[in-house]
Structures are given as C-alpha cells and as structure tokens.
Amino acid sequence: MTSHLTRRNFLTGSSLIAGATVLGNPRGESRAQATGPQKAPKFLFVLGASGGASLLDGPLAIRASESPNAATINAYADAQVTSPQGSPLRAVSYSSSKVGPIPYPVAANQSDFITRRGKDMLVVTQTGTSVNHLVGQRRSVTGNEAWAGRSLQEVVAAEYGAGTLLPNVHLVTGSEFTARGTDGAIPLSARGEVVPDALLFPLGLHGYRGIAGGDRGDLIQKARALRDGKLQPASKFSRVFEDTPAITRFRALRGAQGALESADLVSKLMIVADGADYPLGKYGLASSPSADKVRARFPDYAKDPLEAQAALAYLLVTQGVSVTVTLGANSNFVYTGDNAYGSGSLQAGAVKNLPIAFDYAHTSHRSAQAFMWQRMYKIADGLIDLLVNTEYAGGTSYWDHSAIYIATEFGRTKTRPANADEFSTGHDLNNGVVILSPMARGNTVLGGVDPATALTYGFDLQTGAPDKGRTTAEKEVFAGLLGILGVDTSGSGLPDVRAMRRV
C-alpha cells in the first residue's frame, strides 16, 4: 500500500502502544538485580525482511563466470560481486535508474557492510516449506512448529526475561514474524507485546506523567486508593463480576502499574527530542539519556518507521526492559520527502521502503532486492554500532551478548529471461538466512549454492561440512539459533546444530 508519510501524518492515523503486559515480573527489577545467580542473558533481535529476501542477491550471489547457465539464472556480472579477502561472503554492487516503474534510482553496494560485519556474519542455507508470506514468516520464527509451537522470541523471553518488564517486544506490525506461539507452557509475560509506533510509545508506559492533571503523582495514588479501596468494593457491578477473566486480568495489570511507572520508562525510552512537534518539557517529560546517541545513528527516526524501531530496540535492550525485540520492514511504501507523492519527482534519499518490501521483486527483482538488502544492512549496521559501543558488564559489550536474525519467509525463483537485468521473480522455498552475532560462527557460509541451478544445498549439522545430499530444514535453523543463544533445549527434541555456534 502506498502512503505519503510526512512527519505529521505518520503520527496521525497511527497508534502507539498496543500491548505491554507485565504479569511475569511486576516488581520490575533492574538488570543488575535480576542476574544474580542466573546465567547472563542473551539478546535476540529479529529483523524481518518481509516479502522474500533472496540470498542470491546478497551474501550468496553467483558470479557469471562460475555458472554454465549464467545467462538464464540469477547470476551477476563478475564485477558486481565482490568478497573480502579470504571470505566466502559475497557482496553485490547494483545500480539502476528506477525500481520497476517507480522513477527512483537505486545505488546499492553491500561491500562496506560485508567488510565491516563479515566476521560476525553467518549465512545458513535453508529450504523452507511454504511460499505463503504469512505462513513462511511464522515458520521462520517457529522452525515450523519445531518446539511445541513456540516462537524464537518467546523461548528467549522465557529463558532470559526474568527481571525485565517487557521481555519480548514486537515493533513491527502486519507480519507473522511476530506470530504468537501456540505452546501454553510459555508464560504470559514471555508473549510478544505489540508496539505499533515507536516514537510516542513511552507515553503508554505511565498512567499520568505528561498528561493534563498528572502533575502530582502522590495525589493520583490517593485517588487510585480511593477507587480501589472504597469505590470499587462498594460497586455492585464490581462485586457481581469480580471473578470474570476480563476483570481479574485488568486488576492484575493495575497491580503491576506501579512497577512500570517507577521504572520511568516514559523517559528512558523516549527517542523524540523536545521541540515544536513533541513539546516534552512543557508537559514535564524528557528525552531518554541515550536519545541523542540513537537519533544520531538513526537520523530519519521521525519519518522512517524502521529507523524508529531500531532506535527503540536498542533502548529496550540496553535499558534492561527487554531481551528480545522484533522489528522490520512492513508492506507500506515509505516516502519521507517534503513534497506530496505524485506531485513532481521523488526526492533523493526519500524513498525508505518499497511497496511490499522484498516482494516488489515480482515487478522488478534485482532493483527491489538491491534496495531492500541495502536497507536491511543499514539498519543492522546501525544497531550493531550502538550495541558494540555500549558496555553490558565486565568489559563486554551488549553486542557480545546479542544476535540479529535477518528472518525472511522464503527466497525467489532462480531463473530469468536470457541476460535480462530487469525481470520478475516469484516465491521459492530454496534460500537461506543471515545471522549476525559474535556468538555465531562468523565469516561463514554453511552449505552452498549450485552455480548451475542457483539452488542452495545443506551441510553437516555438527561439522559444518557442505553436503550436497541434503538441504537445511526450518527446524534445524531454529535449533541452531537457540544454540547460538545458549538456550537450554533439553527435552525439546530439537537437533544440536553445533556447526552454527562459534567455537
């Protein structure tokens, strides 16, 4: 869907915090308090590359000289595919004057990212089981229901989220990368909390700060005590319906309200700056102490939803609020230019997201994939940069304990009209995934690509040796990711994919 996204109407018509359930730990301990005898947490960022991100247009690109069928498969000219010295990872350089019919030039060069982050980059080939977007997205985070229907994020939140207020947060909407798992054994607190808009989300984390009449917290507490202690018990309605699930849940949430307010997340997670659009100071509010840092790293945060998500994802983890955050591109065309879309040329640098994201490859494969891979890498790079430069504890950085999983639902078809540079592709089960983490086996491709067919093949799950006789299942990637994150999977039936872990 196309939308003209000015700063003002980015907020108008969108809404913010949707779900912030704090039932698992209403005490809201700080990270320092919570990690006493427990193992150090690991942090998972799921970066949704929705629409079908083809690894053949990224780290598994094929050079024409390598393939006997270069003219008719998605192979690039040799000069367009580079690799850092000694690295199996590929970087595509691609430019085009337009993206299909969209009169907007693309100039993508992945080499900087691969050079800078390749040491922490693991590419794992995979063949999925669905070419349906939503089904494929869900399977990419559940391993196709590999562990009783639990999602990666729920598992991580359940494993490491004790002591955090919102262990599992979903910043992207309209996607099944945020699928709710089906395992009833997962605690409610580990379920994903939906945050539709990252910018003013913190306002939903406090019951009165910054709102008219909310200048005296002590008096608000007295009014709440009046309500809860005198008025409600006297209400026939409350007494008749006090056992209903909706009421008991609401009371439980109210019981946790104080902890959330005490944590001052309304400040700690506030990315926006005090000014005309967001007069924070006038309402007794302030930006996060880390806001300058995230705004500098993601300067388009006010107009680009994905930059805002990345900024908030960093704050959620480093402020001890969450252990897993899901962010990503959705299907909206994001244009941040000052002119109205349709009135003149598209301003340079103002197209932030293609319609239907990676799936725009149906219209123009290479330009769409180039544009979107550049976007994914840019976001990941910014997030890594912030995490690397933020100490976690004992001289280690947050990045040392983190993993970014670039999830995608499937790949794209491998063939093209002879020597065509612009062509359409459909969905294809055969693809791979990208994992960025110092805990993963870095600068590595597990499996490989047959240059004759452009189909990926698998690897030995223990040694990592290429194995052309097998392909990697979703379950195996799921298990390997949990292994990287140090999650105890005893009793799950999941395989041990040792090859994915850094030795």
Binding site: M1, S3, F10, L11, T12, G13, S14, S15, L16, I17, A18, G19, A20, T21, T173, G174, S175, V194, P196, D197, L200, L203, G204, G207, Y208, I211, A212, G213, G214, R216, L219, I220, A223, R224, L226, R227, K230, L231, A234, S235, F237, S238, R239, V240, F241, E242, D243, T244, A246, I247, R249, F250, L253, R254, Q257, L260, D277, Y283, N330, N332
Partner: protein, 219 residues
C-alpha cells in the same frame, strides 16, 4: 461450559428469584441509560450473586471517550491530547484501547486481551478529561456544569452534591451512602494537605477515581 447455577446458589425458587433480581438489579444499575435508580441506604453491604456467565466486555476507546465526553459536557476532541496535540484515543492509544489501524499499521483485529498499555491509556484519558472539565468549571464558575458547588470553596454538602453528580453522570446511578462517604473522606484528606487548593484538586481526582472504576470501563 457454564456451571449449573442451581447447584451452586439456590435450592428453592424464592431464593433463586431473589438472586436473579439482585443480579438483574446490579446489571441494570451499571448499564441502563434510564433514570438512575433511587439510592439504597446500604447498597455497599447488600449481598450480591456473583456472575457465572463472565461475559463482561471492555468498552473500548471510542465508547469510553464518548461516554466521558457526554458525562463531562465536553466535545470529544477536547477530552484528551498527548503533548497537547495528538488525540489520545484516535491516534496515540488506539490499539491499546481496543481499536484497529489497518492502513498504516496493518492491524486488522483488536487485541484480544487488555494490556498495561490499556491500563495506562485509560488513566490518561480519564485524568485528562476530568482535568479539562475541572479547569473550565473553576475558570468560569458561573458557567460550571459539574463542579459548581465547590468552585467557591467546599462544604460537606457541596462535596456530596458533586459526588452525586459524578455518579449520576458517569455511572448513570445514584451513589450509595458508602460511596459518598468515601468521597467525603477523600476530600477531607485533600483538605488537610492541599489547603485552599483542595476543592480544585478534588474535582479532578474524584472524577478520575469514579471514571476509572471497572463499572465505568466494562459492561
């Protein structure tokens, strides 16, 4: 499956009829738009039969704001704005208050359950609406609609009058003696700490307390 009410609550027809009457009375008092029922002398201590049907629903943002606006004689757009600009229910807290946003956020279904966001959003909307009404009444006492009696200082009679009006407008019923007593005690507590500001503070906070009761938020 619902448990058989007869097995749990009554073995005689007369007792059952009385229980049903209490239940229906409680429902009518909470939900009806008709003239409020006469105040019961000790309604807070009356025995009630707890519901076994459990079909209570959260009103949702649109209804909450509409009801509050009507109760407080405010245009809906004046009830609550975050940072003075962004409509609380229509923009900022739409999803947490049970709404959808299909165009930009591709959220087609309301959230199934309430959340911390819902709890905080409710508090913010009600607090803001009450503060706006209080500010207008105390700013123009001659035109006051809700808090007239206390704009020039509060007596217990004035507090009771305002308390009755809050219940009648927000909950569509008269308050019980116990509820009025609670409001009176609350005012006295405020008076002991806030001095001359007590009536003004009471206006906003009493309105907030009543409007954020479960009775006001669910049906």
């Amino acid at each position: 499956m619902f448990p058989e009410p007869l097995k749990r609550h009554s073995t005689t027809f007369a007792t059952l009829a009385m229980a049903v009457a209490f239940t229906l009375g409680a429902l009518a008092a909470g939900c009806s738009d008709d003239e409020p029922a006469p105040a019961a002398a000790s309604a807070s201590t009356e025995a009630v039969v707890k519901s076994t049907k459990n079909r209570v629903k959260f009103k949702g943002g649109e209804r909450i704001v509409a009801d509050l606006a009507q109760a407080l004689d405010l245009p809906k757009e004046d009830v609550c704005k975050e940072l003075g600009t962004y409509d609380c229910q229509g923009v900022v807290h739409t999803i947490s208050l049970g709404g959808v946003e299909p165009y930009r956020q591709t959220i087609y279904q309301p959230l199934k359950d309430r959340s911390m966001g819902s709890v905080n959003a409710v508090d913010r909307v009600m607090l803001s609406g009450c503060e706006v009404r209080a500010s207008r009444d105390f700013g123009s006492p001659a035109a006051a609609t809700l808090f007239k009696e206390i704009t020039a200082g509060a007596t217990h009679e004035a507090v009771a009058a305002v308390g009755r009006r809050l219940y009648q407008r927000i909950l569509r019923r008269d308050p019980s003696a116990g509820e009025l007593e609670g409001l009176r005690a609350f005012y006295d507590d405020l008076a002991s700490t806030e001095g001359a500001d007590a009536p003004r503070r009471f206006a906003t906070l009493a309105c907030f307390a009543v409007s954020t009761t479960e009775e006001a938020l669910f049906y």
